[in-house]
Amino acid sequence: MTSAAHDVPPAVSADPFPLLPPADTPLTIVRRLFSRMVTLCWVELRKIRHDRTELYTRAIQPALWLLIYGEVFTRIHAIPTPQHIPYLAYLAPGILAQSALFIAIFYGIQIIWERDAGVLTKLMVTPTPRAALITGKAFAAGVRSVVQAVAVLILSALLGVTLTDNPLKLLGAAAVVVLGSAFFSCLSMTIAGIALSRDRLMGIGQAITMPLFFSSSALYPEKIMPGWLQAISKCNPLSYQVDALRGLLIGTPAHLGLDLLVLVIATVLAISASAALLPRLAR
């Protein structure tokens, strides 16, 4: 059976028992994972194309943070920034991360909707391992966040923030946004697997977004936080995401290696957790 290297069952023939699909090899498993990521990102892009209103409505909040909060706090010079960059420039990557967080943290609602509509069951009967399904969805959330991030970046540039024009750094920032969203969307899907209802997930999502946001370095540097908050911030993946984004986009000193390592490990853990809980949703 392993000698037949087909990936696809052959077409039905007159033979009552034509070749059965071959058993999986490690290569097919890896290929399948990447194929599912591409597929689910493709679906996400199609959805964004069909309905752009969410893109616009979700741009309102970051715009307010930058326009009102950002402008005011830039004027009063209340928050010390590294290398004395304008506060608005310091804030922009934080707001970028925040808007990605807001998208990702409610991403689990989609999986609950799919479960209620019977779509999840159908997806799980395709040759898609649970972890591949979750990973695909996590990166689809990342794709949506990147599209949103472009809007925030354009807005920041219009407000006079000097951003990097190095395409590699911009690509790196996109990768960081994807990783952060992948983590938070898996966190959301994990909660979905526990809460099992849209309303409860909404409640929990609302309850944790602001604490996640305020306990990170998105709005202010860690060093001006009280000690206990610094400790929490050190455990908050959002802080690492913001640190990396600042380093890449604004050029402030950052610990890129550590940031990426934390984000990758957190994402892998979150994917495992939500994949383990997926059968609860499909029951």
Partner: protein, 286 residues
């Protein structure tokens, strides 16, 4: 099941029993929810090429049986295999051979019909070189070429069901599993969907397993049926033979009453509940 007169009929399909590769074999298949035994030592054999109906009222265990067959649940006892491959041991291989249409009307309403089918072509690893053609073929086979570019939220219930069939067919499955394919559809849409399934049966060489509690549909469209009640199979055979055993003018309803002890009223009640649920789904989708 033991003690019940079992009517088994040799199928027209050429000698599958010799090779031991039936399309589906369940042996001693059992699943419990807490103390409730939903599926109780079910033995079943479906031969390649036949259209097999699993009949029974709601709660008979049909859907749970299907869920074990489609690898969504692991059997607690016994096993189920598709073309000789055990569903619990090699779920990925089994999934690659089956097309599944669940009870609920379920397509992504925000995508177009074509995108819905392409999604499943990708999820079944249909090679890129033939993907577009396969998607168009599946849509055409279900009469959806014209509305394929529209978002599914504009589709009627019958169209969504046909779209789901197209999704299941895009991989040219060896076994098509339909869970209550016409629940929640109005009579015209029901006939319409059945016509497409029947046409499909003529053109493609595949096995179809479906559950239903519409006796008339099973009578018309199934080669063989199994009556399921309270988790076990009460009788198996061709509709004609099962009816003949009860007398000249017996209907499948009579057969059903005979084996399940007159619970047809429950069936009706369940049926209506199901219809309501499917209607809700339809509304949400559109």
């Amino acid at each position: 099941m033991t003690g019940q007169p079992e009517a088994s009929v040799a199928t027209a399909a050429a000698g599958p029993a010799e090779t031991g590769r039936s399309a589906v074999v369940c042996s001693g298949l059992t699943y419990r929810f807490g103390t409730h035994t939903a599926v109780d030592h079910v033995d079943l054999r479906i031969e390649p090429g036949e259209t097999f109906g699993l009949l029974g009222p709601n709660g008979a265990g049909k859907t749970t049986t299907i869920r074990m067959l489609t690898t969504l649940l692991k059997p607690m006892e016994g096993n189920v295999s598709v073309l000789g491959i055990d569903a619990a041991e090699q779920p990925m291989r089994v999934r690659r051979m089956i097309g599944y249409v669940p009870q609920m009307l379920s397509a992504d309403a925000t995508l177009t019909g074509r995108e819905n089918v392409e999604l499943f072509a990708r999820l079944f690893d249909v090679p890129r070189s033939v993907r577009r053609q396969r998607v168009e073929d599946a849509l055409a086979a279900m009469g959806l070429t014209e509305p394929a570019g529209r978002q599914v939220k504009t589709y009627s219930g019958g169209m969504i069901r046909r779209l789901e069939l197209a999704q299941a067919l895009v991989n040219s499955p060896r076994l098509l599993v339909l869970d209550e394919p016409t629940v929640g559809l109005d009579p015209i849409a029901r006939t319409d969907v059945w016509e497409f399934i029947a046409r499909l049966r003529e053109s493609a060489d595949m096995t179809v397993l479906m559950t239903t509690h519409y006796m008339d549909e099973a009578d018309t469209y199934c080669d063989r049926i199994a009556l399921m009640h309270a988790g076990s199979i009460r009788a198996t055979g061709t509709p004609g033979l099962l009816k003949a055993m009860l007398g000249e003018h017996a209907t499948l309803d009579d057969v059903f009453r005979h084996y399940t002890g007159g619970t047809l009223d429950d069936t009706e009640k369940g049926g209506i509940r199901d219809v309501r649920r499917a209607r809700r789904t339809a509304r949400r989708l559109g």
